[in-house]
């Protein structure tokens, strides 16, 4: 299998980047997308050219490191999937594959396809945790939580912070990410004590980091590898209003 990678190359945050095309041969349909990029880098090394910088860690769809924009979609052509789970069989032989880094002012480009997602960490730091000392793991049934609430909290907790929601959003809104983190903890009894503070401070930080506002296009929930629903954003809005006016 042969493809042409058209990849965004940028030396660092302050330099201007541009696209460069690479014809890559000797690929198989069973290769993952990242393996195809690995192969391209190996070829570049043998040619004594600069390798392409891209991020990955687990390569099993749970770490959220491997976010890139592929052929006009976050994480490639499939819905609800990470880049590492994408395989070359999703592309045609001889196809040109355009690979771009996440585009958002709050995610500055570090190098090539690598962006700095520290803005997510800054939001997390404003309250995506509970400050109580929990000691060792308690007996599971000592705090009873209704099944549907557990399910909802766990669905939100599934967020891996990959940034696809921000990347695909026309406004670079971090509403899906932030709402997932807030709703996860605010739904559960352990998170209730700091619920109001959490929602107010995390949403405030989200604005400070320079993310845009949510227009409910729904693109984020389609690209989210964990399929987190945009209803979470509406719920976050309700929680914020309640925290602001009622407390």
């Amino acid at each position: 299998m042969k493809v042409i990678f058209k990849i965004w190359r940028q030396e660092n945050t302050n330099t201007k980047g541009n696209f460069q095309s690479y014809e890559v041969d000797e690929l198989t349909e069973d290769m993952s997308f990242l393996e195809a990029l690995d192969h391209l880098n190996e070829v570049l090394v043998t040619k004594n050219e600069k390798t392409i910088a891209y991020e990955y860690d687990c390569r099993e769809g749970i770490c959220g490191q491997c976010g890139v924009f592929i052929n006009g979609r976050a994480h490639g052509p499939h819905d609800n999937m990470t880049t590492c789970q994408l395989h070359m069989r999703s592309f045609r032989d001889g196809e040109t594959i355009v690979v771009e880094p996440w585009r958002a002012s709050a995610f500055p480009i570090v190098k090539d396809l690598v962006v700095d997602r520290s803005s997510f960490d800054n939001i997390i730091e404003q309250g995506a945790y509970i400050s109580a000392k929990t000691g060792t793991a308690p007996e599971a049934n000592s705090i009873l939580v209704r099944k549907e609430i557990v399910d909802k909290a766990m669905d939100a907790a599934a967020c891996i912070g990959c940034g696809a929601c921000v990347a695909t959003c026309k406004n670079s809104s971090a509403a899906l990410f932030t709402s997932a983190k807030i709703n996860h903890l605010n739904s559960l009894p352990q998170g209730k004590q700091e619920a109001s503070k959490r929602v107010l401070e995390m949403t405030k930080q989200m604005e400070l980091e320079g993310f845009g506002s949510c227009t409910f296009t729904g693109a984020c929930e389609v690209e989210c590898p964990e399929g987190i629903s945009i209803i979470n954003i509406a719920e976050m809005n309700a929680r914020r209003t309640k925290a602001k006016w009622i407390g």
Partner: protein, 217 residues
Amino acid sequence: MYFRKSIIAITGLFLCLFLIVHLSANSILVLPQEVARGLYNSYSTTLRESPFIKIVAYILYLSIVLHVIYALVVTVNNRKAKRKGYAVNRFRENSSWTSQNMGLLGITVLLFIVVHLANFWARIKLGLGEGVGLDSEGHVDVYKVTYSLFQNSYYVLFYSLLMIPLGLHLYHGLKSAFMTLGFYHKKGLRILAKVSLIYAGIMALGFGIIPIIVFFK
């Protein structure tokens, strides 16, 4: 961000309510000529003379102005959040064209409103341009203003075609306004999506077809 979006949502919902009243009144226009004239003129006279409607009218003007200003402010802010776009962006695969182009649709609707106000509001309320006569009962003949405007096929085309962007704007606007204001009931949202579609359909079709009916009367 929240305050701005909430203002857009609240004023938008108020404008949605206003459109229902507006369309109900417009439906008088499809009645036979003389019945329509009498009803339409006496209805508009009642509106103009009511102090309650006067207050509502000011809320309406304010809503349009706030909706537009805050939409502009939010859009500028959103552009800043994404300074550089993608070389290739297949957003149609993950979202509707309408939801991605609310600004463009909004500007089109605003252009329509400007022309619409110049056609009616400026003549009847501000007394600008060609004077408006009285009907046999002594009411300001708003019907004649409407009827004669829609004898011009260009205006009919303009008024009818521009109801398409209005319908699209309303369809996305109505449901997302509720979500912006924090409505997150899962089943309720499914119903809301259908209600938005039906509402937008009725508004676009209703407002769009009346000029055509008047033209052929």
